[in-house]
Assembly symmetry: C2
DNA sequence: ATTGGGAATGAAAACCATTACCATTAGGAG
DNA sequence: CTCCTAATGGTAATGGTTTTCATTCCCAAT
């Protein structure tokens, strides 16, 4: 698993090259921050994190790079209702830890969950197939989120 | 079915009263526009539509009222990726036409679909139950959307 | 290694949907 | 009908995101 936790070019280098995009310091930095992020980061949070070690970084580059990464499928962009987009590494072919989100409308906390993924996959596959046929729509992605109140916010 | 297509007070009057909210011209107008809207409207679209027949309306009131209606559960608020929120009447107890959305990432077209709703309901119910127990989360709502390319945008 | 040219960057300004502010209006209980 | 207060609407402010443009620098070709 090159680049995952040691030396060797990170696994995303190949993808960049094959798309004809250049490998630059800012892009590496941003991917690095996302890679070791514990949670869902906003553009500004990424900006501040990168800035700590590469002070020349500009917020514009953060936005531009994130857009690129999303469009490449390396990163997911979410809206959890706190008026700013949040980003999360899509985990390469190895680290398949696909998951969904549970959003507390009280305090904004977001929980990743992987439960019922298999059952969901089955249904989604069927739905996808049906919709593709009926509407001639080529489905590439989907979004599932649950909203509610976390333990604390229920009281 | 009072107010649905004839005389009598619209079905939402009761809900307003019971929540202690006043029935005002602007609110009625906005609900009226949403009620006969063919598709998912933005705040500004609603503003323009109401203005046609009630020119004193203010955009601020549109936003405030929509927030209220969403909070009351009468209206749903969506983000289809076009940088502005879109709203849709949640259809009262009668017109239960619950549906999900298919969003074209090429042209932004949004298709309502009702297929596989029953299967989805079943899965959602189970998932909901499981998540509630595991995370002690009180789930009140959920969001499902498919993204892809519509017929035109595939070529 | 050097270099030329287009991709990528960053500072600053613009954008624009949404909110905050506040003086004025009007719903509806009594 | 009156009064109190919720609701309204014009305007200014907010703030995340995008645009602009001059400068930098990746990297394929030499
Ligand atoms: Mn996540
Ligand atoms: Mn719809
Ligand atoms: Zn909470
Ligand atoms: Zn399309």
């Amino acid at each position: 698993m090159p680049g995952r936790n040691g030396k060797g070019p990170p696994w995303w280098h190949g993808k960049f090259r094959s798309c004809g995009y250049r490998l630059t310091i800012p892009r590496e930095m941003i991917l690095d921050v996302l890679n070791k992020a514990a949670k869902h980061l906003s553009a500004e949070e990424i900006y501040l994190a990168v800035q700590k070690v590469y002070s020349a970084i500009g917020l514009t580059t953060i936005y531009r790079t994130l857009e690129l990464l999303v469009q490449m499928g390396l990163v997911f962009k979410f809206d959890f209702g706190d008026k700013r987009s949040r980003y999360e590494l899509a985990d390469g072919p190895k680290g398949i830890r696909h998951h969904y989100h549970l959003v507390c409308t009280g305090c904004g906390r977001v929980i990743d969950y992987t439960d019922f993924i298999d059952e969901a996959k089955e249904l989604l596959l069927q739905t996808q197939k049906g919709l593709t046929k009926k509407y001639n729509f080529k489905i590439t992605n989907h979004l599932i989120q649950f909203y509610g109140l976390c333990e604390k916010c229920q009281k």
